[in-house]
């Protein structure tokens, strides 16, 4: 039961360009959506979140967009930097405080 899905396992972007990471979900009861970044040998690190009642949240170079009717969200990173190279996980929060994670997208930002 894949309630949160990231269809692109990897993405390669040139430094300075925009990175767009996508996420789809099936459960309309999710209240919040979060993006986590993960470097090798480290745990996931919180990046940015959005409430289900909003359609956009911005924090510096990172912007998350939510399209509730399409059950789709995306993370935009602009401009992308080599240090952004990591695995990005989309996660959704529903009842009971647990997070349901997508499969992750490996972002590679080339200098």
């Amino acid at each position: 039961d894949q309630q949160v899905k990231q269809n692109s396992p990897s993405l390669s972007v040139q430094e300075g360009r925009i990175s767009i990471l996508n996420c789809d979900y099936t459960n309309s009861m999710f209240d919040y959506f979060l993006w986590y970044k993960k470097y090798p040998a480290e745990g996931p690190t919180f990046l940015i979140s959005i409430s289900s009642i909003k359609d956009k949240n911005e924090d510096g170079r990172f912007t998350v967009f939510l399209n509730k009717s399409a059950k789709h969200l995306s993370l935009h990173i602009v401009p992308s930097q080599p240090g952004d190279s990591a695995v990005y996980f989309c996660a959704a929060e529903g009842a009971g405080n647990m997070l349901t994670f997508g499969g992750g997208t490996r972002l590679m930002v080339k200098p």
């Binding site: 919040y32 919180f46 405080n97 994670f101 992750g104």
Partner: protein, 115 residues
């Protein structure tokens, strides 16, 4: 910056043995979690713990697993009679809020290898 610490970073065990993974959550956090990630797969929820009892658990968290907060700081995951398929990265996490943008802080993980 406060962090969640996990020990051991890597444990190798024989099939059928018991394993205890340890975590020290952030001190003012109230909710504690265990997640796991099998190599190449997604991060999966195992269990959440609040007020000294399990608040949620997934289908993965069967009788083979147990959690405990033996003192004021540690949060442990015990895996009894380990199987090959228990090999994974186990992440502990903690959070302060009970819901609504519940941001979890994760530890670096404990890699379990079952031979």
């Amino acid at each position: 910056e406060p962090e969640v610490t996990q020990t051991p970073s890597h444990q190798v065990t024989q099939m059928g043995q018991e394993v205890i993974l340890r975590c020290v959550p952030i001190s003012n956090h109230l909710y504690f979690y265990w997640y796991r990630q099998i190599l190449g797969q997604k991060v999966e929820f195992l269990v959440s713990f609040y007020n000294n009892e399990i608040s949620e658990k997934s289908e993965i968290f069967d009788d083979q697993f147990s959690v405990e907060r033996p003192d004021g700081s540690n949060f442990t995951l015990k895996i009894r009679s380990t199987k090959l398929e228990d090999s994974a990265m186990y992440f502990c996490a903690s959070s302060r809020r009970t819901g609504g943008n519940n941001v979890l802080t994760f530890g670096a993980g404990s890699r379990l290898t079952v031979l």
